[in-house]
Amino acid sequence: MIGGSAGSFQVVASILGSLPKNYELPIFLCLHRLKHVRTGFVEVLSLKSAIPVIEPYDKEPIKPGRAYLAPANYHMYIELGNKFALSTEAPLNHSRPSIDLSFVTAAQVYRNKLVGIILSGANKDGAYGLKKVAEYGGTTIVQDPNTCEVRTMTEAALQMGNVNHIFSIDKIASFVANLKAI
């Protein structure tokens, strides 16, 4: 699961572009976007991605080999039973989708099988969520702040502690591409 905000779009594009076509895992993307930019995001990411990029419907079953992007203005939860649940309840820390909420719910479901990644961003959303990923036994990665367009989000995540890897963009991409289903 990847969380990002300002400056993360290109990073996500290069991660998705580096995947093999027969990628075995689902990838979850929780990215902040401008309130009124509600369309076009999926299309642009799809052009770069080796696997299909989808904004999931509520209760849609999660399948491997797809990149799921949290829809604009919805929180995206992972429910037991391998399904999404969307919500329009109030933004958390001014964010909807909230990276924290996606990370926490994914951590509860996938536990040690979850890899949480925080990318460039201009606020602190995701730091709490990444800490929870670690607490549930998952792997935590933060983009090297020196390679970020905006460092705030990665620095907040690093301050929370429990970060396994600090990686450059290329390193994140190759790490994700080489993950296998367990």
Binding site: K35, H36, R38, E55, P56, Y57, D58, K59, E60, P71, Y74, H75, Y77, I78, E79, L80, K83, A85, L86, S87, T88, E89, A90, L92, D100, L101, V104, T105, Q108, Y128, K132
Partner: protein, 279 residues
């Protein structure tokens, strides 16, 4: 935001026994989160909350109001309203009566959106508008039709897209003033719907989990947007069944942008773009 480790079952059972409200088939993660928020807002531990719910039905009612989600906008997702205006509503032009049910209408913004569209098409007179929600407080707000101005400035952008612009013909621009439908007071920070709109709908308290169609008619259109996301798959199916039984053949069901009929009930509808049509 501690949504882990809350014993949701304990709460759900107490609430059901005390008040009859059944949250056992709500989506679990968001219910947990909102329960955590209710506990925080009331400065209570779960034990205290449950004890209070058991001995005090009006407290249980208050908790239900706090735990349900009321997010809505005027012309939320303008693209949907443009479709309604140019593709859906014109097909009902020759009906003598048009029955419309806003299920889970919250504070009424979509009820007003619909009435404004109908009025632009000269169809408001013959429309009968019904709004329901589980929370009677939001229905009171809907009846008044008064909304904050500054916080909701996006409503005006949405209005422009749906009412002034025509996405199917960019040369047609209708310069319709907001004052045709609502008054804006920037100093007192409100917008207020005009009486010919506030007086029109029938609002009733209704719980999609427990209640059948409480009106003595079927519907041409049912709008239920961003409500069923709070329900699990089984409950969603039951609600779709209720909607299917409450719609005329050829009637329209509008869900939220990321809601869809996934289960067996999908066989009862055709889907055109984002709109379901009862078979």
């Amino acid at each position: 935001m501690t949504i882990e480790d809350i014993d949701i079952q304990y709460f759900v059972t107490a609430l059901k026994n005390s008040s009859g409200y059944d949250f056992s088939e709500y989506s679990e993660k968001s219910l947990k989160r909102r329960l955590a928020k209710v506990l925080m807002d009331n400065k209570m531990e779960l034990n205290q909350l449950v004890t209070e719910i058991k001995k005090n039905v009006s407290f249980a009612e208050k908790v239900v109001k706090e735990i349900t989600v009321n997010t809505t906008e005027l012309f939320r997702d303008p693209f949907i309203w443009q479709m309604l205006r140019y593709k859906v509503l014109p097909t009902l032009q020759d009906n003598k009566i048009i029955n419309i049910w806003h299920a889970g209408c919250s504070t009424g913004q979509e009820v007003y959106s619909m009435m404004i569209l109908l009025n632009e098409l000269g169809m408001l007179e013959k429309a009968r508008i019904f709004g329901t929600d589980i929370n009677s407080d939001v229905l009171d707000i809907a009846r008044k039709g008064i909304y904050k101005y500054r916080f909701n400035i996006g409503y005006l952008d949405n209005f422009d897209k749906v009412i002034k612009e025509n996405p199917y013909n960019y040369e047609k621009f209708n310069d319709i003033p907001y004052s045709k439908y609502f008054e804006i007071d920037k100093v007192k920070d409100f917008m207020r719907m005009h009486p010919f709109l506030t007086e029109k709908p029938t609002y009733k308290k209704h719980d999609l989990v427990r209640d059948e169609n409480i009106f003595f008619n079927k519907f041409d259109i049912i709008l239920c947007r961003n409500v069923i996301i709070y329900f699990n798959y089984n409950l969603q199916n039951r609600v779709f069944n209720l909607f299917s039984n409450s719609l005329y053949q050829g009637g329209f069901l509008l869900l939220g942008m990321h809601e869809t009929i996934l289960g067996p009930m999908s066989a009862s509808f055709d889907k055109k773009e984002n709109i379901y049509i009862k078979k």
